[in-house]
């Protein structure tokens, strides 16, 4: 599953993620990270039979975990299916379907935001 992790500076020196990986044998992939002196925010993908337990552990250690179904969302009213976003996606998560509609595959999306910045009608945004 994909999730946003948020944490305060008070726990920034603790190896919580590393512990979670070791204890619960999860696959942990960081897609996006913003770490500042005031805390941090990471978009991650967590997979494994004990993923729910690992999330519970992270929450106990002070990380706020928000699982998400979709990384980005597309406003269907604003989108005119021009396809300007398609070729800027580094992981080929955006495609033009048979009926020429532009579709974003949130399974593959890594939240880089290139499509958001390339859209002429500002119709794509992060899911918060």
């Amino acid at each position: 599953m994909k999730a946003w992790l948020r944490f305060l500076p008070s726990i920034i020196n603790k190896a919580i993620i590393s512990d979670a990986i070791k204890i619960y044998e999860i696959d942990f992939n960081i897609l996006r990270a913003y770490i500042t002196p005031r805390g941090g925010k990471m978009l991650v993908e967590i997979n494994g039979p004990q993923e729910n337990e690992s999330i519970q552990y992270m929450e106990e250690q002070g990380i706020q975990v928000t699982p998400i179904m979709r990384v980005v969302t597309k406003d269907l009213e604003k989108c005119m299916d021009c396809g300007a976003c398609v070729s800027v996606c580094p992981v080929n998560a955006i495609c033009i379907k048979e009926d020429w509609m532009v579709e974003i595959d949130n399974q593959n999306c890594i939240g880089c935001g290139f499509c958001i910045n390339s859209c002429p009608t500002k119709s794509i945004d992060f899911m918060e």
Binding site: M80, D81, S87, C89, P120
Partner: protein, 518 residues
């Protein structure tokens, strides 16, 4: 052979056979052009793309007391009002006056808002005359309240267009969308086989006065568009690059927001997405053959937008079948493609127009006059001051440093020569980095003694054959103050700094003022 009058009679009777241009391609390949030309009466085309050369004439009506508007703003976007008292022309690409909004909202967005029936804030200023005493007006307007709103687009529906890529190591933001570094993507804008002027490449049926589909209502072709060009290379009868264009007009009050859209090309500016469709009467076999053109037969050239010059280099050729597949090959590497125009909406345009004709709501027209099909070329603007190149800047002795030099020696070099930048080179004179006086201060503050620890390795460079104006833009874009000049082998030939450019401008002013410095 058929005539437009005969086709119109069929349309009125509800008997006309109408197909879209993409349907026609398969009909002709199955039945042949002769049979198709007998069976099919009209082929509808469509495009829905960014057309910057668009705008609208607006007449606001007279206030009481009346005003002769000399400056007008609509939602903060300036419209040109150097016309009669209450007329203005709103250009699609005009950005908002408000620097906080800037490129995010422009003329195209105002046009869309008006068509959507939204209220738009009009502010007009005037100098005041005996007959028009009022000096300022500030009021909301809506499309239905103003007298006229005529969309008038000087250049739409380009017949084919360049395909863009970017060979430079940095991302470029262009009117062809976001171009990733090192030819990381390719963008194109034509609708290909559905595009109006690619289905009538010699303007046999499309002409002055032709009734068309424009943004969801009927519009008209005023004439050929600006930059209309006919003396171009053709393949399969189709120009391989930008060629013919159209000047279009239509009544904004009847337009449908599904077929027109305000947009912003990121970091480039506002543009208007225009939905336009042209019906082509199938008068004979030749016209039928032309409308059967397929994406594969429409060849286009991939141009390197990394070179900011009037003529940009051609990388390779491709066609719209390849482009629409989502990836093409450049030098053996697979590169993803992006259409910038919406093919989905282009099809909607062609389908909608087809429906109008089938329902007898839209009759075809004979052109009042043909569009020029030969003798038109696009001339460049020759400026009386040729571009100053980097190599034209007065050469100074080249001062460089080596990466194994000590910080103290580098500091002395900067002070002795009264400079702030030093290119760092290896033993072959090839650029390895750059060091500034700030980097040296930083080294002292953090007690570092090696140059390699403080120099910048990723250097923004200038080349001798580049225009100084481009270097000025680069200095501004990267927020730097100096660039090493390098040759093709990456050997340092000198430095160009913001000061050099200021001096150049100062020097020009001096010459113009007869030798006196100002």
């Amino acid at each position: 052979m058929k005539t437009i009058e005969e086709i119109n009679q069929k349309i009125t009777n509800g008997d006309a056979v109408v197909v879209t241009a993409d349907e026609m391609t398969s009909i002709v390949s199955q039945k042949g052009a002769k049979k198709a030309s007998e069976e099919i009466d009209v082929v509808t085309t469509g495009t829905f793309g960014a057309m910057c050369s668009s705008g609208a004439f607006l007449n606001f009506g007279h206030s009481d007391p009346p005003i002769k508007m000399s400056k007008t703003f609509l939602n903060g976007v300036e419209a040109y009002s150097g016309l009669a008292a209450v007329d203005a022309y709103l250009g699609a690409t005009q950005p908002s006056q408000n620097p906080e909004i800037g490129l995010d909202y422009g003329g195209s967005h105002v046009i869309e808002d008006l068509i959507r029936g939204k209220e738009v804030e009009l502010i007009a200023e005037a100098y005041g005359t005996d007959c028009y005493p009022l000096k300022m007006v500030e009021t909301p307007i809506t499309l239905d309240k103003i007298n006229q709103a005529t969309m008038f687009n000087p250049r739409n529906c380009y017949q084919n267009y360049a395909v863009a890529t970017n060979s430079t190591p940095e991302t470029l933001y262009t009117y062809m969308g976001t171009l990733l570094p090192n030819s990381g993507n390719v963008t194109y804008s034509s609708a290909g086989a559905l595009s109006p002027l690619l289905n009538d490449p010699y303007f046999q049926t499309i002409g002055v006065g032709t009734r068309i589909f424009l943004c969801g209502t009927e519009g008209y072709i005023v004439s050929e568009g600006t930059q209309h060009s006919t003396e171009v290379e053709r393949r399969n009868g189709i120009p391989v690059g930008s060629a013919g264009t159209l000047m279009l007009q239509g009544d904004m009050k009847k337009m449908d927001p599904d077929f027109v859209r305000g947009a912003t090309m990121p970091k480039y500016g506002p543009t208007l997405y225009v939905g336009a469709g042209i019906p082509i009467p199938i008068l004979n076999e030749d016209i039928a053959t032309r409308t059967a053109i397929s994406d594969e037969q429409i060849i286009c050239k991939i141009i390197d937008y990394g070179i900011p010059r009037r003529s940009r280099p051609v990388i390779t050729e491709t066609n719209y079948k390849e482009l629409k597949s989502g990836k093409i090959e450049i030098n053996g590497i697979e590169v993803p493609t992006s259409p910038l125009s919406s093919y989905k909406r282009a099809k909607m345009v062609a389908e909608e127009l087809k429906e109008w004709i089938e329902n007898g709501e839209f009759l075809l027209t004979n052109p009042v006059k043909s569009l020029p099909s030969r003798g038109c070329t696009v001339n460049p603007l020759e400026t009386n001051k040729p571009a100053v190149l980097v190599r034209d800047i007065e050469s100074k002795s080249i001062i460089m440093t080596h990466s194994d030099d000590k910080i103290n020696d580098v500091a002395r070099k900067l002070v002795d020569n009264n400079i702030n930048h030093l290119p760092v080179v290896d033993n072959n004179g090839q650029l390895k980095g750059i060091v500034t006086s700030w980097d040296i201060a930083d080294a002292v503050a953090r007690d570092k003694s090696k140059l390699v620890d403080v120099m910048t390795r990723k250097v923004i460079i200038a080349r001798e054959d580049e225009s100084v104006d481009i270097i000025a833009r680069r200095i501004d874009k990267h927020n730097i103050s100096g660039l090493p000049i390098v040759d093709k082998e990456n050997r340092v030939k000198g430095m160009i700094t913001a000061e050099d450019i200021s001096r150049l401008i100062g020097g020009n002013l001096k010459n113009e003022n007869g030798g006196d410095s100002i």
